[in-house]
């Protein structure tokens, strides 16, 4: 055959099937663009200074990569189904299968080139915009330069070359296995009515049920983190089973009920839905899962960001906090003095010095004691208790705790939580309240179970300290019994001035500690830390901003996938329905009746995933509040508000997509078009 014939034919095919190929190419280009942008951001020098971001973006890149493969596979299977007839015709007209493969080859080359051209065009143009957005969200105000990331480009080229090559091989292989007559008949082979798979339906119900049960019964953030993926995967699998088998089983039940089934409204709807479900169940389940993910991601990341200020004031009640671990009693005043001398124009105000006692102990049930000998000290001490008096707690947090004798308020850094009654060195205490956040800043020991215990007053604190000292003395070990001190204060000035002052504080504290240490023979335990609100705030904003960015970015991708699945679903249903539409009219249904019947089916099929997604979100709500607590978000009404808004916006977008795609659908099934068609 003439040279260039296949090239031309392939180009013609793409333009002839533009109704299917344009959305396909838009999708692949968008995915390529987003993949490139993720790479660009990850490699960007502006991001290099934020290691957390690099990690988050790297995660995003992997998700987009996997997603690209899935979505391309999905669309490809749809395209091939629609084009069976055409391929069969080529085959019948005398083209061998290898010729068809050659046409496929050229089509793939064109698609790849278009995808890459549009993908990079869009990706490069938008990369700057997304970089600006990311920097704004994480509060980075560095000047940004515009450039093309060749490394990211290479990776994108390679990924999509791989995907397209795989699809080409897959399609060629499928054609190779098929008969031309089968292909010619195409989609018209009578499809068997789906059988109700009760086992899968019930399994789906059970899996979703377990997922929901976990979500409802988990009562603390740590367990929530632990079971998160289990619950998510259970619900995802359950959703697929419910859509694929559950809906069919339910419709079959309805069909069995003759009085219900043989009603004008139900008759066509039930049988029509049965077929729609068979063809679209997986697609609908995917829409449902994607929709849930979008809602969860957006609502949680938005509420985290909306809550940053609250978190900061909770976690950092003061501008600065200098903590000395187990110094000489006299050291803290020396530091305070030194800081004031070196204040350099900064006014130190709202000072509070609090003391706390760090006790390491071995736990046995609800008893906390010293190990019996020193050799076992480090191997058997599993619990770290930080004691602080209610007075100091109130001073630093501005929250008063009314504790009676023997009562404590506890913050658990880790699980298992401190029991309701516990005894330490023989003295028993009751856990009267649970604190929402740590008064000593964030962080706990990763090796030992750490709890912060607020006791009634300083006398109680001293009593514990003496008991601790006694217990250590029995082991002939006089050290590590001293109090630690935290010095909280505010200063006047701008954020930049405060940041600068942090450096000065670190320096003068360092000097003091050095000189004190030189004075003494016993210098161990002189560790110190300087925390300031500004840098903490920066960390928080960076973290949450990065998560929000990733949430938004992936939501765009998921939304695109949702729209695509809906679009292709509508088209394929349209072609099937066009025929049914005609027949029903011939048998005596009026156009309006047919339209109404089909419309209601389309509506059910369309909005089922959204409804189930909202149900999932409702079930997950409590769970999400627990997870968000791990990220310092305790403001449940705020999260609820963000969720409601996200659901509303998402539903709006969804309805918009529905209206747009339904127009295409009705164009296909339009009775005007069909009644003129020759039978």
């Amino acid at each position: 055959m003439r040279k260039g014939f296949y090239m031309k034919l392939a180009a013609q095919n793409l333009s002839k099937n533009s109704k299917f190929y344009i959305p396909y190419l838009i999708a692949s280009s968008m995915t390529a663009a987003m993949f490139y942008i993720m790479n660009f951001l990850e490699n960007n020098p502006a991001i290099l200074s934020h290691p957390n971001q690099k990690y988050i973006l790297g995660l995003g890149r992997i998700i987009i990569g996997i997603f690209a493969v899935i979505i391309m596979l999905y669309i490809n299977s749809f395209l091939m189904k629609r084009r069976q007839k055409e391929i069969g015709l080529y085959n019948v007209l005398g083209m061998e299968k290898r010729h068809i493969a050659r046409i496929f080859g050229w089509e793939t080359v064109y698609s790849y080139l278009i995808t890459m051209a549009c993908g990079f065009g869009g990706g490069i143009l938008l990369s700057k915009l997304f970089l600006l957005l990311l920097c704004k969200l994480i509060g980075d105000r560095n000047a940004l330069s515009f450039y093309v990331d060749f490394q990211g480009m290479t990776l994108t080229l390679a990924l999509f070359a791989g995907i397209f090559l795989f699809l080409l091989l897959l399609n060629s292989f499928k054609v190779h296995l098929s008969h031309p007559v089968e292909l010619l008949r195409g989609g018209n082979v009578g499809e068997k009515e789906p059988k109700a798979n009760w086992f899968l339906a019930i399994l789906g119900l059970v899996l979703t049920g377990i997922g929901y049960y976990i979500a409802q019964t988990v009562s603390n953030p740590i367990a929530a983190l632990k079971y998160f993926f289990v619950a998510v995967i259970l619900v995802i699998i359950g959703t697929y089973f419910l859509f694929i088998a559950g809906t069919v089983a339910l419709l079959k039940l309805l069909k069995k009920n003759k009085r219900f089934y043989y009603k004008t409204n139900h008759f066509t709807a039930v049988s029509g839905l049965l077929y729609r479900m068979k063809q679209n169940a997986a697609g609908l389940a995917s829409i449902c899962v994607l929709a849930t993910m979008v809602i969860v991601m957006i609502s949680s990341t938005v509420s985290l960001n909306a809550n940053v200020n609250d978190i900061i004031s909770q976690e950092y009640p003061h501008d600065f906090c200098v903590t000395l671990q187990m110094p000489q009693k006299s050291t803290m005043p020396v530091i305070q003095k030194s800081l004031k001398e070196n204040a350099d124009g900064h006014t130190i105000r709202n000072e509070h010095v609090i003391r706390y006692l760090s006790v390491s102990a071995a736990s046995a049930g609800n008893q906390f004691n010293m190990p019996s000998n020193m050799d076992q000290f480090f191997s058997s001490c599993d619990t770290s208790l930080e004691f602080i008096s209610a007075e100091d707690y109130a001073a630093v947090t501005n929250r008063a705790l009314a504790l009676k004798d023997g009562e404590t308020a506890v913050y658990d850094f880790s699980k298992p939580a401190l029991p309701d009654t516990f005894s330490i060195f023989g003295e028993t205490y009751r856990r009267a309240a649970t604190l929402e956040c740590s008064p000593l800043g964030k962080g706990g020991s990763s090796i030992m179970n750490t709890h912060i215990v607020v006791v009634k007053d300083n006398q109680t604190l001293d009593k514990i300290q003496q008991a601790f000292q006694k217990a250590l003395k029995a082991l002939d070990e006089p050290r590590i019994t001293a109090y630690s001190y935290s010095y909280f204060f505010d200063t006047n000035g701008t954020d930049t001035e405060k940041m600068a002052f942090t450096k000065a504080i670190e320096k003068s504290v360092g000097t003091v500690i050095q000189s004190v240490a030189n004075d003494e023979t016993n210098s161990h335990g002189y560790s110190y830390s300087v925390a300031n609100r500004q840098s903490g705030e920066k960390d928080f904003r960076e973290m949450y901003g990065g998560l929000l960015f990733l949430g938004l970015f992936l939501s765009i991708l998921f939304l695109m996938a949702t729209v695509l699945i809906i679009y292709y679903k509508q088209i394929s249903e349209g072609y099937d329905d066009a025929e049914r539409f005609q027949i029903m009219q011939k048998v005596g249904m009026s156009q309006t009746e047919v339209k109404k019947s089909i419309h209601s089916q389309v509506l059910i099929v369309f909005f089922l995933p959204l409804i189930v997604a909202v149900l999932h979100m409702l079930a997950a709500f409590k769970y999400m509040t627990l997870l968000l607590r791990c990220m310092y978000l305790t403001n449940v009404p705020l999260f609820a508000l963000c969720t409601v808004c996200t659901v509303a916006v998402f539903a709006l977008v969804y309805i918009l997509v529905y209206l747009l795609t339904t127009r295409t659908y009705y164009k296909i099934v339009s009775p005007q078009g069909s009644s003129l068609r020759k039978q």
């Binding site: 009578g190 003759k258 009085r259 027949i583």
Partner: protein
């Protein structure tokens, strides 16, 4: 009494982008009496299917009049039209037009369900019909599970279960093998002897030879008609063949 009256029917299709006009029916006039069995013959493109679609009220004529049982179809509104179609007309199509989503029984029930009948009523009506058409055993099967002849018999059952005044058949034997076609035509004969009015469009001489009267249309006009009278099917077959040969070789019009 004429159950179907067609007078001066004209249908012109205009292509979507304006311009070309195609005249499918020029001027068709005929009528069918109660209990008659009429076949309409013609080559492909002669306007047969257009005519049948207009008779079925699936399409509207450009001008002219179709009256079924005294009712002018163009006077009926779209909503009443489908109810009218449902209760007065039965259809049998070349490609069966059974819905894949229903089994045969539900396909047959479809017009009754639309008319709001209850399940026991429908079941009662179906039993004698399915027995007569020999499909009682396959009612629970789906269209893609049975042969073409069986599908067409189910379609006939669907058409007559509403006891229509007029049974319209569009090339009913077109997709069937000769054996199934003969079976189907025998069914039509039987229905007709019981008083069912049948109007069939076909270009099969065999099918047409079963009718009591055959109309020939060419280029959108009724060109000729012959009555079966007392002749046998074989004689009718010969008559029709001769007429077709005459038409094909450009013979003169006669009445």
């Amino acid at each position: 009494m004429a159950i179907l009256e067609v007078s001066n029917l004209k249908k012109i299709y205009t292509t979507r982008l304006g311009g070309t006009q195609v005249q499918a029916l020029r001027n068709v006039t005929f009528s069918a009496e109660q209990g008659e069995y009429v076949a309409i013959m013609g080559e492909s493109g002669s306007g047969k299917t257009t005519l049948l679609n207009i008779l079925a009220a699936l399409d509207s004529p450009t001008s002219g009049r179709v009256t079924v049982d005294g009712k002018n179809l163009s006077d009926l509104k779209e909503k009443d039209l489908s109810a009218f179609r449902r209760s007065n007309l039965g259809f049998v199509f070349q490609d069966f037009n059974l819905l894949d989503t229903f089994n045969l029984q539900d396909n047959i029930f479809l017009p009754l369900v639309l008319a709001g009948k209850t399940y026991p009523e429908m079941k009662e009506k179906l039993e004698p019909i399915s027995a007569e058409l020999g499909i009682s055993d396959i009612l629970q099967k789906y269209p893609y599970e049975v042969s073409g002849g069986q599908k067409q018999r189910a379609a006939v059952a669907r058409a007559i279960i509403t006891e229509p005044k007029l049974l319209l058949a569009d090339e009913p034997t077109g997709a069937l093998d000769s054996h199934s076609a003969d079976d189907l035509l025998k069914i039509f004969d039987k229905l007709n002897t019981k008083g069912q009015t049948v109007v069939m469009v076909t270009h099969s001489v065999n099918a047409a030879s079963h009718a009591r009267r055959v109309l020939f249309i060419r280029d959108g006009e009724v060109y000729h008609q012959i009555y079966r009278g007392e002749s046998t099917e074989e004689e009718m077959f010969v008559k029709i063949s001769d007429t077709l040969t005459l038409i094909a070789t450009g013979g003169e019009k006669n009445a």
